[in-house]
């Protein structure tokens, strides 16, 4: 399974320099302050997350090293954390990081079709980034929204109760930079029974 978060390789684009933005530097200092003295290294996960957000969704070599330097850790210790969690991407990803759940409930409800559509719309293969850098499509294991299966996560948001049509529309809208509806696509309230099913 190809996934930018599941590689042990450190990737770097030439001349990529990572420095904390002013806002994020402030935020990083606040995060570090949450941990007791001499336990600042505990902030490694939130700081990696912060760095990933600043670095358009992935952690470059320089970003990892910056986090290590910020926390006075050795590079390898930070890399261990970054490679352990698949949520940290070590390769560049597209503007929309589409994670399609393929675990049993979603699969039974047709996640296979979603994968096909996603590949079709983005014109890229699983685990790869589309040429226009709009999408990276990956398959993931259960994201914990089985009741509204099938579902996908795009960047920070969940899109639930998908079918071929509404998923295609979401992707096309994303491609055209239109705003899209988050959460359930059929108007379901959180995980309540679907209208009509509750009788």
């Amino acid at each position: 399974m190809k996934h930018p978060g599941m590689t042990n390789k450190v990737y770097n684009i030439s001349n990529n320099v990572f420095n904390w933005s002013e806002v994020n530097f402030k935020r990083a200092s606040e995060i570090i302050k949450k941990y007791p003295n001499s336990r600042q290294q505990s902030a490694v996960i939130p700081l990696l997350d912060l760095a990933q957000r600043q670095n358009s969704g992935w952690l470059s070599k320089t970003a990892i090293e910056k986090v290590a330097e910020t926390l006075s850790m050795s590079y390898i210790r930070v890399l261990e954390v970054a490679t352990f969690y698949s949520m940290f991407n070590l390769e560049p990803v597209g503007e929309n990081f589409v994670q399609i759940c393929r675990t049993t409930p979603c699969w039974l409800r047709g996640s296979d079709k979603l994968v096909k559509i996603a590949q079709d719309v983005s014109n890229s293969k699983l685990g790869e980034t589309s040429n226009d850098k709009k999408f990276t499509i990956v398959e993931v294991e259960c994201l914990g929204a089985c009741c509204n299966a099938p579902m996908v996560q795009i960047n920070d948001d969940y899109y639930e109760d998908l079918d071929e049509d509404n998923f295609r529309k979401i992707l096309i809208d994303l491609k055209n930079n239109k705003s899209i509806k988050k959460g359930s696509q059929i108007g379901r309230q959180t995980s309540h029974p679907k209208r009509g099913d509750d009788a």
Binding site: M6, M73, S74, I76, E80
Partner: protein, 682 residues
């Protein structure tokens, strides 16, 4: 004491022990991969599973603290089944390449698969393959064999103090690597080879050389630094193929440094195996009789009583005593061992020994380093300091230029002026130093190799006397000598006050006036130009710097080729063993001096090695007990001297190549290139 029942046998154990340790007390053998006594507990291999009463499933005995009244079973069917299961999982991804694996024959996985595993595999899927990683010129990696015990990671982080190794990824994708495959930047990196329970990390220079059962194994001691680590030398014929550490809690624990382990290829290169004599400025092969005759003639012409004898880095005490008695027989007492100009207080053995003992470092909570870089001068000793730093939160202060020591330290000054600070309790560190429970002072030779040396020793002794732990049983004043020969030579009085303060200057002046015969006992650390005008007799085993400039070269065996006695920095008497026969015509030094004394009619009272050793004991009773050190806390030379400021410069410029053996070693040359030069470039 609490008791625990193991296999129906009741044993008492100490608080804080784990179930595994208690099992060992009861004599039950527990298989393990990830657990190692000297490292932190990981509990990730699951091989040490045992059954505990009232527990629903087997427990990992290495990570479970033993409790009073526990009932443990180590040989039930469940345990055996659990072990078989774990073995099967471990072997899923382990390649079946034992026939081409260097670990074959001494592999934990092989042995334990034989004893605890299944006889066949039920696994039919593809095995995983992992790319090999570059870890430098010493450690070769075949990462597909790795079982992820993480011993190497824990060793480099905890003991060596370099955060270089890590476990990336997880599950099927887990792999051990250094950050971007950089070289492990540690003097102790070779130990990961011993720690690796499988053949994932192996000895690069030894790759495909031999099988463990083909080797002749000799237990002996290392002489390449002052610690005198306990080692096992594996030889085949006249080739030393590898060196492994032996456990010795007094000195090296379980570790040895990379020079000890890897410089051995130098033992078969550049060797002196014939007698040479200088003829028209060229060294020509000759025979022993001609050479000895020539030495006699030169001694007669130049004056026997002017003879100078200087010892080198590896000179054993038998040689020292033979040379000393011979020289005295000639009527000269111009002998010395302090070629690096390290000063001593004459007659005070406390002024050159590591008095507190190496083991005492573990209890230290404050250490003052004066002109010493222990990482290079005695790497395994530095690992102890790091242990104290981690376990006791030991504070370390450094008087000397900045260095990377693998632990945090407080820099006091670049020059000797820092001692004033300590004396007058000026800085924060100085104040805490006197108030800590177990402070130690470690003086490196770089601080005392100048005219201030004696004063530094006196002042440090004065400071040591004021320390709270100074008592009859413990002397916190330590001198860290770099050479194994030094303390032994000094104990035997192989010094002359004539060479005090400025060794080279005094030597050169003497040679200018007297043009004497000089015996160099493997001494290569002095510029050959110093000897111009003298007649040089070089006794040694390597054609290093000074052998080329000698008038006569007499071949002698290296440390693996003779049994000899040394004193390590603590004054601990250690005896090395002959691992194989010497090269060519090499003869032990004491035999050479015995033969010379015959020619010159000066009586030397020994005829065999036993006689020589009797002489040792006669001169110094400390040589009586092997592996013991008798150190006193007498610091009568202490005085609050005022020291003229002097800048400290460490006298080792290259850890990997600083003696005749390691300078001849290709492996050490590679290390210099790949590790040192790279570190300096970045």
């Amino acid at each position: 004491m609490p008791t625990i029942t193991i296999d129906n046998k009741k044993v008492e154990f100490e608080d804080g022990m784990t179930v595994m340790q208690a099992c060992e007390l009861a004599g039950a053998e527990i298989p393990r991969f990830c657990y190692h006594e000297k490292l932190s507990i990981a509990g990730n291999c699951r091989m040490c599973l045992v059954e505990m009463e009232k527990a629903p499933k087997p427990i990992a005995s290495c990570a479970m603290p033993a409790g009073d009244g526990m009932v443990i079973k180590t040989n039930t069917e469940t345990v055996q089944k659990a072990r078989k299961g774990v073995m099967e999982f471990l072997l899923i991804n382990h390649p079946l390449d034992c026939p081409i694996c260097d670990q074959g024959g001494e592999c934990d996985l092989q042995d334990q698969a034989l004893h605890y595993g299944f006889d066949k595999s039920r696994y039919e899927e593809n095995k995983r393959a992992v790319k090999n990683k570059h870890m430098g010129p010493l450690v070769s990696t075949i990462m597909t064999r790795c079982i992820h015990c993480t011993r190497c990671v824990r060793f480099s982080t905890e003991v060596a103090g370099v955060d270089d190794l890590g476990l990336l990824g997880r599950g099927e994708n887990a792999e051990i690597t250094t950050y971007l495959e950089k070289t492990i930047d540690s003097e102790l990196s070779g130990n990961v080879i011993d720690l690796c329970p499988v053949g994932a990390l192996t000895n690069k220079p030894y790759a495909f050389k031999s099988r463990p059962w083909e080797l002749h194994k000799t237990e002996t001691h290392d002489v390449l630094d002052g610690v005198g680590s306990s080692i096992r030398v594996d030889t085949r014929g006249k080739q030393v193929l590898r060196v492994l550490p032996r456990i010795n809690e007094d000195t090296n624990e379980e570790w040895i440094n990379d020079k000890t382990r890897f410089a051995i290829d130098g033992l078969s290169k550049q060797r002196l195996d014939k007698v040479y004599i200088k003829n028209e400025n060229k060294l020509m092969v000759t025979d022993w009789n001609t050479a000895l005759k020539k030495i006699k003639d030169e001694l007669d012409i130049r004056g026997k009583e002017k003879t100078i004898t200087l010892s080198g880095k590896f000179t054993d005490t038998e040689t020292i005593i033979a040379a000393k008695l011979f020289s005295e027989g000639l009527g000269s007492s111009l002998y010395d061992c302090r070629f690096d100009n390290a000063q001593i207080i004459h007659g005070e053995s406390e002024s050159y020994k590591f008095n507190s003992s190496i083991q005492e470092i573990e209890n230290a909570d404050s250490i003052l380093l004066v002109g010493s870089n222990p990482r290079w001068e005695a790497s395994v000793l530095n690992a102890r300091i790091r242990k104290a730093y981690i376990n006791n939160n030991c504070k370390i202060g450094l008087i000397g230029p900045d260095i990377d020591l693998n632990y945090a330290y407080t820099k006091i000054s670049n020059s000797l002026s820092g001692l004033d600070d300590i004396k007058q309790k000026k800085s924060e560190f100085s104040k805490n130093f006197y108030n800590s429970k177990n402070p130690l002072i470690i003086i490196g030779t770089s601080a005392i190799n100048n005219s201030q040396g004696a004063a530094v020793l006196k002042l440090c002794a004065d400071i040591a006397k004021k320390l709270p732990n100074y008592s009859n049983a413990l002397n916190p004043l330590n001198v860290l000598n770099q050479d194994i020969s030094r303390v032994g030579a000094l104990e035997l009085g192989f010094v002359n006050k004539y060479f005090d303060e400025n060794f080279i200057y005094n030597l050169r002046e003497n040679i200018k006036i007297n043009k004497p015969v000089i015996f160099l006992l493997g001494l290569d650390e002095i510029d050959p130009k110093t000897f111009e005008g003298a007649f040089i007799v070089y006794l040694g085993h390597h054609g290093d710097l000074n052998a080329h400039h000698a008038d006569i070269v007499l071949p002698t065996p290296a440390y693996t080729e003779k049994t000899s006695t040394f004193m390590n920095i603590e004054g601990r008497v250690i005896q090395t063993s002959r691992c194989h026969n010497p090269f060519g015509e090499a003869k032990e030094e004491w035999k050479i001096f015995r033969a010379l004394s015959n020619l010159l009619n000066c009586s030397i009272k020994f005829n065999n090695l036993n006689d020589v050793r009797k002489q040792l004991i006669e001169i110094n009773k400390n040589f009586l007990e092997i592996m013991e050190c008798n150190n006193s806390a007498n610091l009568s030379f202490a005085s609050a001297e005022v020291i003229n400021d002097h800048n400290i410069a460490y006298n080792i410029s290259n850890f990997y190549m600083n003696d005749s053996i390691s300078r001849s070693s290709e492996t050490m040359a590679k290390c210099t290139n790949e590790i040192l030069n790279k570190a300096q470039a970045s």
